[in-house]
């Protein structure tokens, strides 16, 4: 089984949604700014609940924010 990684478009979506800051998004989804930073760098895979909350903030389907890809 190959190595997989969860990629995301959080950074891109932040900018498309009125240049939302990392802190702004963090406050909306109830995590720290460091978690958003780590998530955008693909160094942290969020829980399903956090993933849904982020998608809800951007009002897009989950798969538009997160992609499961093979390295």
């Amino acid at each position: 089984m190959g190595k997989h990684q969860i990629e995301n478009k959080v950074r891109q979506l932040r900018f498309e949604n009125g240049q939302m800051t990392q802190s702004g998004l963090a406050d909306k989804v109830g995590v720290t700014r460091q978690t958003i930073l780590s998530l955008e760098a693909c160094r942290y895979s969020p829980s399903l609940e956090l993933a849904f909350r982020i998608a809800q903030v951007f009002q897009v389907p989950l798969e538009e924010v997160f992609q499961y890809s093979e390295n």
Partner: protein, 159 residues
């Protein structure tokens, strides 16, 4: 350096653990070579260790951790869990090694008593008495605490 209040607190805890442990182990070894636990000098040393840890805590927290840490989020909990696992495994390994050392020491002592070890060999025996064992357990606790904090810091720094 982009660092959260929670990570700062772990850096401070790590520094306090390292400094206080080093001071205690160095001083207690200088005092009695770890052969005694309950005497006047040791009680003074324990009092000094408590004062030192309070003073270092006050200074470090006043200088570097003025803001209150945010509430733990899921990443903080995940990192804490990895730290706890690392601390637990290191403590298990160190305790196993310690049990091995004590058993080996007892075995050597039995050989010496039965007369199998004679002359210089029996005079150079290092017997692990309860005091030395207590200090070795403290070393194991200190190292596992440092492992736990170092693991947490590694994951915070990795991003």
């Amino acid at each position: 350096m982009d660092i959260s209040a929670r990570e700062k607190n772990i850096w401070i805890e790590f520094t306090i653990t390292a400094l206080v442990s080093l001071y205690y182990f160095y001083s207690s070894y200088q005092l009695s070579g770890w052969t005694q636990v309950a005497n006047y000098e040791m009680s003074i040393l324990v009092r000094n260790v408590i004062i030192l840890s309070v003073v270092i805590s006050i200074i470090l927290y006043a200088l570097f951790a003025r803001e209150t840490p945010e509430q733990k989020d899921e990443r903080d909990l995940a990192i804490e869990s990895r730290g706890n696992a690392s601390g637990y495994y290191s403590l298990t390994i160190l305790c196993s090694i310690l049990i091995g050392i004590i058993m080996l020491s007892e075995g050597i002592l039995l050989f010496a008593e039965s007369g199998t070890l004679i002359g210089e060999a029996s005079s150079e025996l290092t017997v692990i008495n309860s005091s030395v064992a207590m200090h070795l357990i403290l070393v194991a606790l200190m190292i596992s605490a440092l492992f736990k904090q170092a693991t947490q810091l590694f994951y915070y720094r990795r991003g």
